[in-house]
């Protein structure tokens, strides 16, 4: 693959010190983000999606500790490649060199992520004023342009508005404008549409896509909504219990999933053809990361689990050049287990739907 890597995470492990003991939230994550593309990180609550991106931004909460790994950020903005090891930076250095300026973030809940006592215009200008020492007039003009770009009408009038005067969808647009204010190279969206209603969701997703087309920015999405993933992602990484269990091109994950957990996730997603039958759910509850893992963390909930799953953690098996999955089912000596029939049916339908839509 000849694409340019922007971000490369290798063997990242993070633990949190809590009153109940040490929580190993991230256990050896490897991920890559390529220039101008979109990576979606999928998984249920507590699978370590948010912790991973917080580590990229250097905004882990105080009790979080990075145990091992590297995060390499390659910048091509100035024309030449500059490689930076983000984990070697102190919090202060991260703030000065990376945060907001090179990597920006859009948060989950726009209702709470804006400062209620500051006009939105100032909140957008703040980053430029600090990072690039832009003068007030230029910053103002750029902020108005950004508000226009994210689809806010009468941007000049809105500059003086306070967050409580805007609707949820508009606030999320403002948050995106803030993120874009310093022309970052990577945009991290932490469940950007979870708190919004469905019609606004679609609009925000389209907006981010459009911006990506215009600016060539690379995007990381964090979500547990597979519908969102299908719409936006080039690459998908499925996380479970602090590990990436399957990753590959979006089509590979949706049409040829290989990990039983991905099967479960896809089966549990309702679609238009879901009849009145009970929706599939993955049995059990997410793995408690306070416990020591022995074997595969998913084994307990996996109806295809092999004996070895309870004793030895599966390595990443390569399926295609881009597609990897961590399950013993892919081992050459494993019994041939294929995905459940119901899911096969559903994937077939999905494919047909896409074909239909594509043909229109």
């Amino acid at each position: 693959m000849n694409k340019d890597k922007v971000l490369s995470i290798r063997d990242l492990s993070i633990s949190f010190q809590t009153s109940a003991g040490e929580v190993n939230a991230i256990r050896g994550v490897n991920l890559d983000l390529y220039q101008g593309e979109t990576l979606a990180i999928v998984g249920e609550s507590g699978s370590g999606k948010s912790v991973t991106v917080k580590a990229i931004m250097g905004i882990l909460s105080g009790n979080g500790k990075i145990k091992s790994g590297t995060i390499d950020f390659t910048s091509r903005k100035s024309g030449e490649e500059v490689k930076e090891a983000l984990l070697s930076y102190s919090k202060k250095e991260m703030r000065r060199r990376i945060n907001g300026r090179r990597i920006a973030m859009v948060f989950q809940d726009p209702m709470t992520s804006l400062n209620p006592t500051m006009p939105i215009g100032s909140q957008i200008m703040e980053g430029m004023r600090y990072h690039y020492k832009t003068n007030k007039k230029e910053a103002y003009e750029k902020a108005v342009k950004l508000l226009d770009l994210v689809g806010i009408t009468e941007p000049e009038k809105r500059m003086k508005s306070y967050p409580h005067q805007l609707s949820g969808g508009m606030r999320q647009r403002v948050v995106i404008a803030i993120a874009l204010s310093c022309d970052p190279e990577i945009l991290i969206c932490d469940e950007p549409t979870t708190a919004l209603d469905v019609t606004i969701q679609a609009k925000i997703l389209e907006l981010i896509k459009e911006i990506q087309k215009k600016t060539g920015i690379s995007v990381i999405y964090i979500t547990h909504d597979l519908g969102v993933v299908a719409k936006v992602a080039d690459y998908v990484a499925v996380m479970y219990a602090g590990k990436v269990v399957e990753k590959g091109l979006s089509e590979e994950i949706f049409y040829e999933p290989r990990h039983p957990y991905t099967w479960g996730l896809l089966s549990a997603m309702p679609d238009l053809n879901t009849d009145d039958e009970v929706l599939y759910t993955i049995p059990g509850s997410p793995f408690n990361l306070l416990n020591k893992t022995e074997g595969d963390a998913f084994a307990e909930r996996n109806r295809f689990a092999l004996n070895i799953d309870y004793r030895l953690e599966p390595p990443m098996f390569q399926i295609t050049e881009t597609h990897y999955a961590a399950t013993w089912l892919l081992h050459e000596n494993a019994p041939a287990v294929s995905m459940p029939e119901a899911l096969k049916e559903r994937i077939k339908r999905m494919g047909e739907e896409v074909d239909l839509r594509g043909g229109e």
């Binding site: 703030r95 907001g100 948060f107 709470t112 400062n115 600090y130 990072h131 306070y162 409580h164």
Partner: protein
């Protein structure tokens, strides 16, 4: 906002008038008169009453008093310092009280804010515990305990500050009373600041501000403290008021010639004009502080400011 402030000032003035009227009625109902001297004969008392206009009905006296007050005349003292005008009586005492009270308010809020910030930023460390201990002590011990403790240690043992108030060393003498008065405010403000700041620090907008890569001081002061201040300002008003009432005891301990001790003496000797004037001053301060806090509230929180403006636009 301007119209709101004007309206509030008008309401405050009306409130003060009502307070004054109630004071007059209460003094009327109180037994005794300023002229309790056994040597005075019945006719002499009647003469005195006539001289000071005390023989007139209470409402006439009230109207006269308000009229004089508007021209700056608060009347004369009857017993404490015969025939001196209240203005001269207070001219030496009021500045002392205001100075100590003001210093205490300033110290209470500033030190309280700093302690609270330190505790919140060093959450769950020894500094946090230390400030919590100080807060608990400050809240649970009454101001006179601090006053006595301070005058024993810093005043008597170390001789750093005078034990009793001395006119010649006004600044030095005001230190111990200020500290003992301010302790309660320091403690309460510190506790509130800590809780509010912790909540703000954990909020989403702080995370967003941090992800913008802003420098630490800007994060804490502009994004953090301003939001934490909103609830703090609310508790500040009653605290400042309690400083005024607390000053009565502390003034006694350090024998400060302020208005607190004067008020007690005036009540004991039925010196009507002194009581009315001092009660009026206390009420005016109280109402003024409430007004100031309300305006401050609007300045800090745009939601309140804008809501008030909207109210007026609609009406």
């Amino acid at each position: 906002m301007k119209r709101y402030i004007v309206k509030r000032i008008c309401i405050s003035a009306a409130t003060l008038l009502v307070i004054l009227l109630i004071l007059f009625l209460m003094l009327e109902l109180m037994p005794g008169s300023p002229f309790n001297d056994e040597k005075l004969t019945q006719s002499q008392v009647a003469l005195l009453n006539a001289k000071y206009g005390l023989d007139k009905p209470v409402f006439i006296r009230f109207l006269n008093y308000v009229k004089n007050m508007l021209s700056g005349d608060f009347g004369v003292s009857y017993t404490i310092s015969k025939n001196t005008s209240i203005t001269t009586l207070l001219s030496t005492r009021l500045p002392i009280s205001i100075r100590i009270g003001g210093q205490a308010v300033l110290m209470g809020t500033v030190v309280g804010l700093i302690l609270g910030l330190i505790a919140a930023l060093n959450h769950n460390t020894i500094l946090d515990t230390l400030t919590t201990v100080i807060s608990v002590l400050g809240v649970s011990l009454p101001s006179y305990v601090f006053a006595l403790g301070l005058s024993y240690t810093l005043g008597y043992q170390f001789k750093w500050f005078p034990l009793l108030y001395q006119q010649q060393e006004a600044v030095k003498s005001s230190v111990l009373p200020t500290i003992s008065l301010a302790m309660f405010t320091v403690a309460t403000v510190a506790r509130f600041t800590r809780t509010e700041m912790l909540e703000v620090l954990g909020s989403d907008y702080m995370l967003l501000a941090e992800s913008k890569g802003l420098p630490g001081w800007r994060l804490i002061l502009i994004h953090g403290l301003r939001n934490a201040l909103i609830p703090i300002v609310t508790v500040l008003a009653p605290l400042v008021v309690s400083l005024m009432t607390g000053s009565l005891v502390v003034e006694k301990i350090f024998s400060i010639p302020g208005i607190g001790s004067l008020l007690v003496t005036a009540i004991q000797s039925n010196d009507y004009n002194v009581i009315v004037t001092l009660a009026f001053i206390y009420s005016a301060m109280y109402i003024g502080i409430m007004l100031a806090v309300d305006i401050l509230y609007g300045l800090i929180d745009p939601r309140i400011r804008l809501a008030k403006e909207d109210d007026y636009e609609q009406s």
